[in-house]
C-alpha cells in the first residue's frame, strides 16, 4: 500500500511542517517514507507544496505528480492540483481559504474551515495540523497515537508547549464532522 500525498498552499501556512509530521508518522509506523519540498524563490505568500510518500515498499520517485491524497490551503493550489488526483483519491480543503468546490465525483472531498477553527481556538498557524486531523479521521493512514509520537519526535523538548498546541489542533480536525 502506497500513499502519495501532496500538500499545497501559500508559504507560511505550515505546508512543509505538516508534510514533515506526516512523513515522521510513517516513520513511526515503520514504513518507507519520503518528503520532498518544492524549493526555489518561494517566500511567505508565494505558492508552496510538498510531496510525501508513505509506503510498505521502497519509494521510487519521491515527486508526487498524481496524488492519492491532496491537502490544499489556497485556491490556486486547488485549481492547479485537483485535476491530477487519482480516481478514488481524497481531497481535504481548508474552506476558510478556498471558496471553490471540487468539480469531480470520482474523488472524496472534505471541506473544513481549518483557518477559522484555528483562530477561534487560539491556535494561530495551526490550520495545517487541523487539516491533518481531518485527513486522519477520513482515511486512517495514520493513527492518533502515531501522530502523537511523531509530534513528540519533531517538536524539541524545550518547545513542549507547541507540542500540546499541535495535539489540540489535530483533535479539532479529528472531531470535525461535515
Amino acid at each position: 500500500m502506497t500513499h502519495d500525498i501532496l500538500l499545497a498552499g501559500f508559504g507560511g501556512q505550515g505546508i512543509l511542517f505538516a508534510g514533515k509530521i506526516l512523513a515522521y508518522s510513517g516513520l513511526m509506523d515503520e514504513k518507507e517514507v519520503s518528503w520532498l519540498p518544492s524549493y526555489g524563490p518561494e517566500m511567505r505568500g508565494g505558492t508552496c507544496n510538498c510531496s510525501v510518500c508513505i509506503s510498505d515498499e521502497p519509494i521510487g520517485s519521491p515527486l508526487v505528480l498524481e496524488p492519492s491524497i491532496l491537502v490544499v490551503m489556497n485556491t490556486p493550489s486547488l485549481e492547479k492540483f485537483s485535476g491530477s488526483v487519482k480516481s478514488g483519491g481524497v481531497i481535504v480543503v481548508d474552506s476558510t481559504m478556498v471558496d471553490a468546490k471540487v468539480d469531480r465525483n470520482d474523488v472524496k472531498t472534505f471541506y473544513i474551515p481549518a483557518t477559522k477553527l484555528a483562530q477561534e481556538n487560539d491556535l494561530a498557524g495551526g490550520a495545517n495540523i487541523i487539516l491533518l486531523g481531518k485527513l486522519f479521521r477520513e482515511t486512517n493512514i495514520v493513527s492518533a497515537e502515531t501522530f502523537k509520537k511523531a509530534i513528540e519526535k519533531v517538536v524539541p523538548a524545550k518547545k513542549a508547549a507547541l507540542a500540546a498546541n499541535n495535539l489540540k489542533a489535530v483533535k479539532l480536525g479529528l472531531d470535525y464532522a461535515d
Binding site: 516513520l27 517514507v33 519520503s34 518528503w35 520532498l36 524549493y39 519521491p62 515527486l63
Partner: protein, 352 residues
C-alpha cells in the same frame, strides 16, 4: 539502529563529520546550501574547521592547502560553483591530494536554474579541469546512499591519493528520507607524504603540480594512470534490477534511476520484460556490468536529466553491440515515470 528523517544535504554533512572530515571550505549556492549551514552549526563542536570562503575559487584552494597537511578536507557547491573550482581541482589531482567535492547539480548552462539536473556528467567524468586526470565519481540515489558514499569517498580518496566527487542533484539534496549512520570501522591511513610539522626529524615533503621537464611530468601522469587502472579493475559499481530476463534495459543514475525503477515496475505489471542497470560509480564506469547485461538484453534505454551525456559511456561500454536509445528532460525538469514507460513501450512495440 534508529532511523531518522534527514535532508540529503544534511545527512551528507553529518556523514562527513563522522568520516573524520576536519576541514570544510565552501561558498553558498542553491540547492546545496544546507551542507554549509549544517556544518557551520555542528562542525566546531565536532573538532572541525568550517570556513565560508570569499569565493568558490578560494574555497577549493583552501581544500588544497588543508589536504596537503594530511587532514580530510571537503568542499561542496552546485553546478556553476563547481565550474569555478575546476582549476583548483586540476591542481589537487596534479598534486596527488585526496579530498571530497560535492556537486548538488542544478540546471545549466550559465547560471541556469536551481531545480535538479544531471547536465554536469561530462564535466565530472571527462573534464573537471585541464590536463590528464580523473576523479572518483559517485552517484548516490537515496539519502542513505548520500551517507554511505561520502564515507566511501573519503576512504578511496585517501587510498589512491586523488579527489573524489559525489555527483548528486537538487532532488537528492532537498528530499528527506529515513537514514541511519553506520559505525565507521575503517582506520585513517597514515599519510607519510603530508607537509606538516616534523621538527626537522625527516626530509621535508613537497606538494607540487609543476614539472617543467616533460619526461618527469610524463612519468608522474603515467604513474597516476596506473593507479586509475587499478581503480577501474576494483571499484566500478552498479545496481542491477530485474535485468536477467529483460528485453529492454533502462539505464539511469542518481535521482533519475528512482523514476526509472518506477517505470520498470509499471512495465513489468503490463507484462513487458524491462530491467534497470544503475551505475553507482560514474568513474570508474561499470563497464563489466554493462557488458554482462548486453549479453541478454535486446536494447538499452538511457534516461538522464540532460540532453544525453552518459549515453556515450553506455555505448562505449557495450561496444555498440546493442542499440542504445535515449530519453531525457533538462533544465531542471524531472522526467515522469509515465514518460519513461511510454518510451519503453515505443521500443518493445507496445504492451503485451
Amino acid at each position: 539502529m534508529e532511523r531518522n528523517l534527514m535532508k540529503g544535504n544534511e545527512a551528507l554533512a553529518e556523514a562527513a563529520i563522522r568520516a573524520g572530515c576536519k576541514c570544510f571550505f565552501g561558498y553558498p549556492i542553491t540547492p546545496q546550501t544546507e551542507i554549509s549551514a549544517y556544518l557551520a552549526k555542528r562542525f566546531e563542536a565536532a573538532g572541525g574547521v568550517f570556513l565560508q570562503a570569499e569565493s568558490e575559487i578560494a574555497a577549493i584552494n583552501m581544500v588544497l592547502g588543508a589536504a596537503s597537511t594530511g587532514v580530510r578536507a571537503m568542499t561542496s557547491s552546485s553546478s556553476p560553483g563547481i565550474s569555478l573550482k575546476s582549476e583548483g581541482i586540476s591542481y589537487i589531482a596534479g598534486s596527488d591530494l585526496p579530498c571530497v567535492i560535492i556537486n548538488v547539480q542544478r540546471g545549466g548552462p550559465g547560471l541556469g536554474g536551481i531545480q535538479p539536473s544531471q547536465a554536469d556528467y561530462w564535466q565530472a567524468t571527462k573534464a573537471l579541469g585541464h590536463g590528464d586526470f580523473q576523479l572518483l565519481v559517485f552517484a548516490p540515489n537515496s539519502v542513505q546512499e548520500m551517507v554511505d558514499t561520502v564515507i566511501k569517498a573519503f576512504d578511496l580518496a585517501d587510498q589512491y591519493r586523488m579527489p573524489a566527487m559525489i555527483l548528486a542533484d537538487g532532488l537528492l539534496g532537498q528530499m528527506m528520507e529515513p537514514v541511519t549512520f553506520p559505525e565507521i570501522t575503517s582506520k585513517p591511513l597514515e599519510k607519510p607524504w603530508a607537509t606538516n610539522g616534523h621538527g626537522n626529524k625527516r626530509e621535508h615533503n613537497i606538494i607540487n603540480s609543476l614539472y617543467l621537464q616533460p619526461d618527469v611530468l610524463e612519468k608522474s601522469v603515467i604513474d597516476r594512470f596506473k593507479r586509475y587502472d587499478e581503480i577501474k579493475e576494483n571499484h566500478a559499481e552498479a545496481e542491477l534490477y530485474k535485468t536477467e530476463d529483460a528485453e529492454i534495459v533502462v539505464t539511469a543514475y542518481g535521482a533519475t534511476s528512482r523514476v526509472a525503477k518506477s517505470a520498470v515496475n509499471m512495465a513489468r505489471e503490463q507484462g513487458i520484460k524491462a530491467g534497470l542497470i544503475r551505475p553507482v560509480t560514474l568513474w570508474p564506469f561499470p563497464v563489466k556490468q554493462f557488458q554482462k547485461t548486453a549479453e541478454t538484453a535486446d536494447k538499452f534505454l538511457c534516461v538522464e536529466m540532460s540532453m544525453g551525456q552518459m549515453i556515450d559511456d553506455v555505448k562505449l561500454a557495450i561496444n555498440c553491440s546493442k542499440p542504445v536509445e535515449f530519453y531525457g528532460r533538462t533544465g531542471g525538469v524531472i522526467p515522469k515515470p509515465s514518460e519513461i514507460l511510454d518510451e519503453i513501450k515505443k521500443y518493445v512495440g507496445g504492451a503485451k
